[in-house]
Amino acid sequence: MTPCMALEDFVDLKLGHYNKDGIEVVDVEGEIDVYTAPRLRELLIDLVNKNNYQLVVNMEKVEFLDSTGLGVLVGGLKRVRAHDGSLDLVCTQERILKIFRITGLTKVFGIHETVDEAIAAKKLEK
């Protein structure tokens, strides 16, 4: 593989979602930055508009997250909270967790190690 090909050969952002036990789980893979974050924002808005107010965003396959991505997650949190909902995260990667710690957002989001743990926590909240 040439260096040029390596630079272009990437998954920028893959999004998927499914419902488990009444909670919408959003799978995110790739890089969330100023270029790709609008796609995640659109998905979160779409889910809320379809009356999904209990969200879990699985970030285990996120390779990069910047402040634009944080803004999208916080925007999603504000939307679900307006309907008495919640938005929790699944993340164990230190390099991603670091930006949440730097910004103080570990106090704002529920951050879990697995999707099942996040769902169990949400059921306890109900």
């Binding site: 930055d33 100023v34 974050a37 910047d66 402040s67 634009t68 803004g71 670091k98 910004t103 103080g104």
Partner: protein, 151 residues
Amino acid sequence: MATVEVTFTPLPAHVRTARLVATAVARRSGVDEALLDEVRLAVGEACSRAVEAHRRHCPAEPVKIEMTDQGERFVVVVSDQAPASNATLHGATAGANGHGVTTLIQGADDAGIPVGFGLAVISGLAEDVHVSSTSSGVSVRMSWPSATAAG
């Protein structure tokens, strides 16, 4: 003279390329592997801020990145040609933790993050950050120790 100098059209799609180049040059300059994620994120934040500023004020002008191996320090300067707002410069001095979380939560909406938050994140990431504003634009200078400093 910079070791590597890159200019790019202020489009979000190019920010990824810019941070990949910066990370590659940092590695080549001997920056510790453990710091490369910080370099990548900080340069990405600086470029994102510059791109947004150019899109508002001067979309035809390019954003410039200069990366220099100064022996003991690897220095990155991201320069734009857009006028700085007070909010932008406040972000650089506020720090991300504490003030930042309140600002982010209050300011986040469909338009995105509050102005200046990216700089606050950079301040939380890099140990050496200087933001300067002149009549020709804003410069964000960041540096990290390189191999020479460790050895």
